[in-house]
Symmetry: C2
Subunit: 237 residues, 2 copies
């Protein structure tokens, strides 16, 4: 379902990654199970992910200096270890667990959808994840990005306008020639405020089976798509 | 011919682009010929390229603020237009000609070599070209990069150590786990001074048929390869 006709065709599609491209919930649950089969993986991953926005706010407020997401993930993880019975992990095990965010699987429609979209559009990430994380994830999941863009390139996290406008600037385009693709209405709203086109992707299982997600359309978006295959069809690919 | 055994296997191969991956000489000659069949393409491209290092030095000395290569190319081009009878080009034609650097072809061994290398190594660019230029070039030439790194990411041009060390930092590796691949001994020497491994690639036609290039080995490099296929073989791919 397209919410309204596109004002003009975008040239670059910029993708949010965590939740939109990859399934962080089941990925982290799976990695914890390898270490601690008896632990409550669902509670663990929701707590880890819940620390993400507050940690980025500490950086953007200036309380912390510029920090990569790998390091923010580790800060948050260190605060959860005791609570989840992980206090006895070795340093190497902690580092490995922290990089579980590099080893998340794409949703099943992603590779086929991106492959169709790539024929016609330049595809980049626009994630708060760091470049190394996003590159490792892309190699592992065979994600055919043309370019990895990230908070690390712009030295600002989404929803800072420098990130959305930064994509347009990298490609020497008007903001309206870039479309942000995301499963999060707040990310899309911030992109829209910068003049980007926006496509919402339904990811009803983003938070796992126990926490269903509202995936209803917002007519302010340029497009609303079930998944990347639906997006490709709507974009004529 | 491998000059000496590798101290340890690299994990990331970072590629210089202009001259190493793509043939800028014949690409720019071709584009000029489309505009002015009678112009001296060889003299034009050599003059345009000769302005590149001095222009970057003006940025690194602080005389110019941070400037993308697209804009430096344009500065240099504007200084050459009259001399080469291009003063009557429209602004749109000048912009199109300036972006000829986005439309350079890879050397014939490149795509096959990178495809073999990609199975085992993470492949990134490390170029003074801007991200948009490198991404457009990669789409056009089907260059299978895992990640586009550039002076634009590090806000410094090669041979600034921030660029070579920046690649290692992006991937959370020691410098010795990164190998710079380049057709230029000065670039490789600067990378080596930062602790990177280095591979020299012979590109005897880099400056065109009228200006043969010295491609003799420097034993200081970790490897010396005829082309990317030879590099892949030496690296066990």
């Amino acid at each position: 379902m397209s919410t309204h006709p596109l004002s003009s065709s975008p040239q670059v599609l910029a993708f949010d990654v965590f939740g939109t491209v990859v399934d962080w919930h089941s990925g982290i649950v799976r990695e914890l199970k390898l270490l601690r089969p008896e632990a409550d993986g669902n509670a663990f991953v929701l707590a880890w992910r819940a620390g993400y926005q507050p940690a980025m706010r500490r950086v953007m407020s200036g309380e912390l200096g510029w920090t990569l997401i790998d390091d923010l993930h580790r800060l948050i993880l260190d605060g959860l270890l005791e609570q989840f019975g992980l206090g006895d992990l070795s340093e190497a095990q902690k580092q490995h667990l922290n990089k579980a965010w590099h080893r998340l699987d794409p949703w099943p429609d992603v590779v086929a959808g991106l492959t169709r979209l790539k024929k016609r559009y330049t595809l980049c990430t626009l994630s708060n994840g760091n470049i190394g994380l996003l590159t490792n994830m892309a190699r592992r999941g065979a994600l055919p990005w043309d370019c990895i863009l990230s908070a690390e390139v712009f030295r600002a996290y989404k929803p800072d306008p420098a990130t959305y406008l930064g994509v347009a600037k990298v490609f020497d385009l008007d903001p309206a020639q870039v479309m942000l693709v995301a499963a999060h209405q707040d990310d899309l709203a911030a992109a829209r405020a910068c003049g980007l086109q926006t496509a919402y992707i339904e990811r009803p299982a983003e938070f796992g089976a126990t926490r269903p997600k509202d995936v209803s359309p917002d007519p302010a978006n340029s497009m609303h798509a079930r998944d990347f295959l639906d997006l490709a069809t709507q974009l004529g690919c």
